[in-house]
């Protein structure tokens, strides 16, 4: 079970709790978490990644275990502590703008 923390704007948009629990069917990768998140909350499609290219939106970041995973490829395996649910996978709106 993967725990995902969403930023406030996306929680409101998705009508989701602050912490979302996801079960992944396959390997626990960054891409699999995002796929599962979008499957649970279709309104988040396009909000984290571009619809057409699946590239991460520039001001959306992915953190876990005090590491910035934003630039890692989608098939990167998540840290063990995230896979076991000990640590959350954080979706963060970057500090930018007014």
């Amino acid at each position: 079970m993967i725990r995902v923390l969403l930023p406030a704007h996306l929680r409101i948009l998705a009508k989701a709790d602050k912490e979302v629990e996801l079960e992944l069917g396959g390997p626990p990768t960054i891409g699999a978490v995002l796929d599962a998140l979008e499957a649970r909350y279709p309104v988040l499609c396009g909000a984290l990644r571009d619809h057409a290219t699946h590239q991460r939106r520039p001001f959306v970041r992915f953190f876990a275990c005090e590491e910035d995973l934003s630039h890692e490829p989608a098939d990167t395996l998540l840290p063990e502590a995230v896979v076991t649910g000990k640590e959350p996978f954080l979706v963060v709106g970057a500090i930018a703008g007014g």
Partner: protein
């Protein structure tokens, strides 16, 4: 008693203001979608309770919202705007080819007859359409694939398709405008498009009378005379009497012919409104006086409307989608400012009052006249 509903999009959310036909007391609801940029909110002429809203964010991209109860509740609908086929390139600020990239939806134009059909003007410039109430959006690629497309360039605000006018007399005809490409018309329901920029003169492009490249800020039309168009260009207020085949300048005695908004009185097709703005660079009212200029002659002869508007120390802007009219017997005029005020006139512009003063910067104003 009839009433009006003002739909205001701001930099940080949407607001809905309602009043009865007197338009003296206003109820303000919102913010809806707090913190998001609400570029445009517009109701269906065929079903006033059906309202669409473009919700965007530099962080989280484009969302599209729909209400079926006049704005009381909203549900997200489809937000997938993917260009049709090979994307191609337009000119970028550096003059080099740059691929089309979807950024946001600037303008929503619901069909005059079908609440489920809406046209969307987007940045980078293209027109999309939904026929299922916003669930899915498909590009009408004939516009972006026009032979001049690779020469279109963004204005300072981006390469946006910001104006869509539907011809009530001819369902196959519509007009659009792009900054900075110019105005275009389709006569076959959007399959093919024709630049309609003859008569425009833009000193800021290498060939001032070029077929495309003009920074058109807004076009307006009265539904009873859909072949008469009024344009606020980056500079110059223009008029066409032949559905855009040719334009002539009607700036007349305006203190400056720069501005963004232009609109037409609901019952008088020759009465038009602009808000002159000082430019280039400043983008605030001349002399710090916020004045709506009205022409009852379809241009050239303008009178300043000042009663109730700040006549000193006013340095706001009025953006291109931020003026609208109601269709009550005494036509109401509304506009929003980057200072967060929405001003309304219940007497066709003779006098004004703020109906709300301290919203976030206003991006768009639309008005629904309710039975």
């Amino acid at each position: 008693m009839s009433g009006v509903r003002v739909l205001a999009g701001t930099r940080k959310g949407a607001f809905i203001l309602t009043s009865d036909g007197k338009r003296e007391k206003w109820e303000i609801c919102g913010p809806y979608f707090a913190g998001w940029e609400m570029y445009h909110i517009k109701g269906s002429p065929a079903d006033p309770n059906r309202i669409y809203a473009s919700q965007t964010s530099g962080w989280y991209g484009q969302q599209m919202q729909r209400s079926d109860d006049g704005g009381k509740t909203w549900e997200p609908v489809g937000n997938k705007f993917v260009y049709d086929g090979v994307t191609g390139t337009h000119q970028f600020y550096d003059g080099k080819p740059h691929p089309w990239e979807f950024k946001r939806t600037w303008h929503l134009e619901p069909s005059l007859t079908d609440p489920d059909t809406v046209y969307a003007g987007v940045e980078d410039a293209a027109i999309f359409r939904t026929t299922d109430g916003g669930k899915t959006w498909a590009e009408m690629p004939g516009l972006r694939n026009h032979s001049t497309g690779n020469r279109w360039q963004p204005g300072a605000g981006g390469m946006c398709l910001h104006t869509i006018l539907l011809d009530p007399a001819n369902p196959k005809r519509m007009f659009i405008a792009i900054s900075a490409a110019g105005a275009f018309r389709t006569d076959d329901g959007g399959e093919s498009w024709k630049p309609i920029n003859k008569g425009l003169y833009s000193q800021y492009i290498p060939e001032p009378t070029a077929e495309v490249g003009h920074c058109v800020h807004r076009i307006a039309m009265h539904p009873s005379k859909p072949y008469v168009l009024f344009m606020q260009k980056h500079w110059d207020v223009m008029r066409s009497d032949d559905a855009g085949e040719s334009w002539h300048e009607v700036s007349g005695n305006l203190p400056t012919d720069f501005g963004f908004v232009i609109d037409v009185h609901a019952h008088e097709p020759q009465t038009i409104y602009v808000v002159p703005i000082k430019s280039d660079g400043e983008h605030f009212p001349p002399e710090g006086k916020l004045r709506v200029y009205r022409s009852r002659t379809g241009g050239n002869e303008w009178e300043a409307m000042t009663k109730g508007l700040p006549q000193s120390d006013c340095y706001v802007n009025v953006l291109r989608d931020a003026m609208a009219v109601d269709s009550l017997d005494e036509c109401g005029i509304y506009f929003g400012t980057t200072g967060g005020q929405i001003y309304a006139s219940a007497d066709a512009g003779d006098s004004w009052a703020p109906i709300v003063r301290d919203l976030p910067a206003v991006l768009s104003v639309e008005v629904q006249t309710l039975p």
